[in-house]
Amino acid sequence: MKAIVDLFEEYAEQSLGVPEMEEKQFSIGGFPVRLRFARASWGAILTKALDHLRTEAPTAPTRGPAAPGRRQLTISILDGLQPQRNPLLRFYLKTLVDQWPDYTGPRGELLHLHGGSVVAFYHPGPDILSVVDLEADLGFFWKRDLSPLPYYEAGSPMRGLLHAWLRKQGLQFVHGGAVGTESGGVLLAGKAGSGKSTSVLACLDSGLKYASDDYCMVGAPDSMHWNVYSLYNTAKLVGESDLAKFNGLASQVWNPQRQPDEKVTIFLNDSLPHKLIPQFPLRAILVPVITGQPDTRIEPCGAGAALMAMGPSSLAQLPVSGSADLNSIAQVVRGSPCFRLKLGTDLWQIPGAICQLLTQLSQ
């Protein structure tokens, strides 16, 4: 429904057309993504997880293609304290916030706004409305108030919005850790608690570099080989016991004062920017399994097991994901060797086992 985009575009021009308006540009999966915001605090918190992908100040026009054939997304960051002059938009936002169960689908999707190139979804709790126009390459991220963002939104900002747009550009979001080098790496697929983050962080002291510990993207730029693309530089650990395994990271925790249900969140770009890698060729998919045994081993597994590990958990937190996403993830799985990463208690064996596998696969 284009009307909502027009209303938001007008609202953004009114709210962001001020001297304090800032822009930051990022290269996400090779695509330029520009964030516009008038409140510096939003700019700081929403871009921390993306800082490793930041590029020079924008020189291209505010909207439209950055270069022939190369699209760019412009996201306007807004909040409810910036007054909506248009009464229709004001009424819509008030109605949505107050009566969201009547308007949202089970996953927060706002189907009454969907149509043509527009998708929209609402996240109650933090009260965030996301709207994206896939043809106009415009996104809007609106938060009702200035209350702090939940740790998961700071750690994986604008995930649903970016997913909707980047999918259109041929990049598939997957829930997985990713480590490797410029010559190739692995995707660690699995739901929370499967050992992804621990495995990825155990690799930080090895020759392997970090691309992701939860969400990253996979794409096939030459239609032949899959590449993994880094998205967020965030590492999340379940609690103190996990953090204790990585002494060097304790001083880097972003949320030392956290709620009981919050994960320990660390932005690796702050302290280990040299350990981050923006992309690498995908060589294998690993399904971590915690064994309780001391040693780590890698064994072949079926594509079905890899899809079970990666498909549902990838789609779970993406409100406009569906059949096309599952099909795309299945294609990645079909085109990649799949293994079980049987995790031992001696964490420092993990990078060695992955490096050994990468060496074998390259021969």
């Binding site: 605090s41 996240h123 498909g311 779970a316």
Partner: protein
Amino acid sequence: MPEICFRINSPSVIHEKFDDELVAINLDTGVYHSLSGAAADAFQLLTEEATQTEVALALATKYAASVEVIQAALTPFFQQLRKEDLICQVDVRTARGPLQLAGGGSAVPLVAPTLEAYRDLQSLFLLDPVHEVGEEGWPSTAPGPPEA
């Protein structure tokens, strides 16, 4: 009375099949499923709209069991599929040819089709019901500064 015809409950239900395994996700409930063997084949056949008898006849071309045995095995399986809202009733059937099942004539031993359900991601799939807006509604809050 004609036998009930079923179809996959798309677009709420999405699925992918790998060889002998099939993964299905119900996006409305957040429950996902793993099916293998005859269960995966039966589910795949339902993408074309079919009655239980038609599915049994098609499975009988691949599995080493009579149509009657397969029918009996399918009854609880179809009940599970309906209970999980993975299939729904078709009111007006679409014309199509006979169901075809890859691997026909191979006499594969029949293992009764079953459905595994995984509910551990439901809280991630579905909206968090915790939502605090005062009785006065929004906008009315006196927010503090955002925390960077």
